[in-house]
């Protein structure tokens, strides 16, 4: 059986035991990419030579008895929103087609310092704006579970790569659910760490007060290993917290024992069947969710209902704060210093070139958000829009604070529906935004969240994830509860089902 079906922890153990080399592991993943990525399109760039060279170095180190880290030699994929020297960083946009950064993001440097070979850059919604990866300027990524369906967004590429066994580990980023929601629709694990606990230096900013880098994996333990590696204070990021990242792996291992006695779990009233009717919480999703909650009870958790009344305003606040911040963040793309330059005919001024370039280089969703953001910040409207949204944020933080006085973790479905078809919601921005209903509150408050695969929907057989949320800096609780649920539900998705869906018969494997 190919190494690619092992978890990252298992691959790391095998490397340590000398059962496999990093070159073999890396090559196996490159082979899988060659086999399936034409269908899945998870990757925008594959660095075959670089990854193999890094793998060879890993093997040398290990032979000399000097591995850099437990994960030294385990391959990883990186969402194309993080800067990588020598590899293009396009953010899924024409604006940065072929742009090769002269510096590494801090999280990328940490991967390199630990010796993980970087397989390549994964596809994403343009500048991380979207919930389906359909906004990528380079074509959508397809959900390995059903190639006609979306893999989620904005980090659909990383989730699909991990789901399709093209990589055991990937980095994603989450601003309103862009790691967790793809995790939910692809049957993988996705974590948004506490805001500030992972460096944003080198993360091309969407909404600075909401963005976080996080792990994308197939198991909870793998995510814990990856988050411990990339997390921690970075002096280059002024918003990075001092507290060290600790105890996540321990919590994941402890959680796997399945004992949740004494853990208080709160089901969020507003996110689910009792919530807003119009948000369309599908029965398929709710069925899996209810089962998962029951499972938690069986493991000894005390489950109660908790109301977070301000959450109904979270979407509105989010879709004001994010456009405001991004309208300013994306101003730097002006054709003067890097990236696309479109020169109109005649004797154009710098201003003409800026305007033509930004019209050609940005897709529709990006333009929508820039314009809304420009409006929300303009004089006369600031207080009513951005100012108000920041107040809603305060109310949401208060809701979380009150909730966590009653419970240790909160739980909800990760998103209202399973993976919808490609093209189904592409022309309806509001319908698309509703995918983030459950995930947005965590970004507004900075609290950590995880999506754990909990089963498949009864009606369409597609993956469903369950979201846990914990107080700020209590990421370990997510790993404990997440690992417990994961162990309890077992292999609900099944590797062989996926191979079949990808058309990988015994001959092709």
């Amino acid at each position: 059986m190919s190494w690619i079906y092992k978890t990252a922890a298992e691959q790391a153990a095998a490397l340590a035991a000398g059962e496999v080399t990093s070159v073999e592991l890396t090559q196996a993943h490159l082979d899988q990419i060659a086999k399936v990525d034409e269908q899945v399109h998870a990757f925008l760039y594959v660095d075959t030579e670089g990854a193999l060279a890094q793998a060879a170095e890993s093997d040398s180190r290990r032979a000399a008895g000097r591995p850099l880290h437990e994960l030294d030699g385990v391959p990883v994929a990186v969402k194309d929103v993080l800067t990588t020297t020598g590899l293009p960083t396009t953010c899924g946009s024409k604006m940065l087609e072929g742009w090769i950064p002269p510096y590494d993001a801090t999280v990328v440097a940490r991967l390199k310092d630990a010796g993980l070979p970087i397989l390549g850059k994964t596809n994403m919604d343009e500048f991380a704006m979207g919930s389906s990866t359909e906004n990528s300027a380079y074509g959508p990524t397809r959900n390995p579970w059903d190639l006609d369906r979306i893999p989620g967004g904005s980090g659909g590429g990383s989730a699909a790569a991990v789901a399709a066994y093209e990589a055991p580990l990937a980095l994603g980023t989450d601003t309103g659910g862009s790691i967790r929601q793809p995790g939910h629709v692809t049957g993988t694990v996705g974590v948004k760490p506490t805001y500030g606990s992972v460096s944003r230096y080198g993360l091309v900013a969407l909404a600075n007060s909401l963005d976080q880098v996080g792990p994308v994996t197939r198991t909870v333990l793998d995510s814990a290993l990856l988050q411990e590696l990339i997390g921690g204070h970075d002096p280059k990021d002024s918003t990075s917290v001092q507290a060290p990242v600790r105890g996540l792996v321990e919590a994941a291992r402890a959680g796997a024992s399945g004992d949740l006695i004494g853990v208080r779990v709160g089901v969020i009233t507003e996110l689910g069947r009792q919530g807003d009717e119009e948000s369309g919480w599908s029965e398929g999703v709710m069925g899996v969710f209810d089962d998962a909650v029951e499972q938690l009870r069986k493991l000894g958790a005390e489950v109660v209902e908790v109301s977070c009344p301000s959450f109904v305003h979270a979407m509105a606040a989010y879709y004001l704060i994010l456009p405001a911040e991004c309208s300013s963040n994306l101003a730097k793309f002006d054709a003067m210093r890097y990236g696309l330059r479109v020169t109109p005919e005649g004797n154009p001024s710098a201003e003409d070139v800026m305007k033509a370039t930004r019209d050609a280089g940005f897709g529709d969703e990006v333009k929508r958000r820039i314009i809304i953001g420009t409006y929300a910040l303009s004089s006369g409207y600031y207080d009513a829009y951005y100012g108000q949204a920041q107040k809603i944020r305060t109310l949401i933080i208060e809701d979380f604070t009150k909730a966590f006085e009653q419970v240790d973790v909160l739980v909800s479905p990760t998103a209202p529906t399973t993976a919808f078809r490609i093209g189904e919601k592409a022309d309806d921005p509001l319908a698309m935004y509703l995918n983030d209903l459950a995930t947005i509150p965590a970004n507004l408050a900075g609290v950590p969240g995880i999506s754990v695969p909990a089963g498949t929907a009864a009606d369409d057989g597609l993956p469903v994830g369950v979201q846990f949320l914990a107080p700020v800096l209590e990421d370990a609780r997510l790993y404990r509860v997440g690992a417990a649920l994961e162990a309890a539900v077992g292999d609900v998705l099944g590797r062989d089902k996926l191979d079949h869906r990808l058309g990988l018969t015994e001959e092709n494997k």
Binding site: P102, Y103, R358, I372, P429
Partner: protein
């Protein structure tokens, strides 16, 4: 207090696009303006939700006074700095004629 749900006229959208230095075609304006108004209508729901006594939060994690020492740290070489530039002349970024004055 401006009426939030009134929506944007096509001209207002063009003006905003100008401020954001995006040259929208007429077709784009026709396409975007209604979509923007649908979004703005839905976010208008926050009006009046939070009272005057609610303090806005700009940062989820309260921190203050993050400083660095006034010590030189190696940066980029000129080659690295100019590596992505659409046009370079005399080791500087070459840009088309600038219309506006410096601020």
């Amino acid at each position: 207090m401006p009426e939030l749900s009134r929506g944007l006229s096509r001209d207002q959208v063009r003006h905003l696009a100008d401020l954001a230095r995006i040259d929208l075609s007429d077709a784009e304006l026709d396409h975007l303006a209604p979509q923007l108004n649908v979004i703005l209508e839905s976010v208008a729901s926050i009006q009046g939700v939070a009272g005057d006594d609610v303090v806005p939060t700009s940062h989820p994690i309260p921190m203050t006074n993050v400083f660095r020492d006034d010590v030189v740290v190696p940066g980029l070489t000129a080659e690295q700095a100019l590596s992505g530039a659409p046009a370079v002349e005399e080791q500087r970024f070459s840009v088309p004629r600038i219309l506006g004055d410096e601020q």
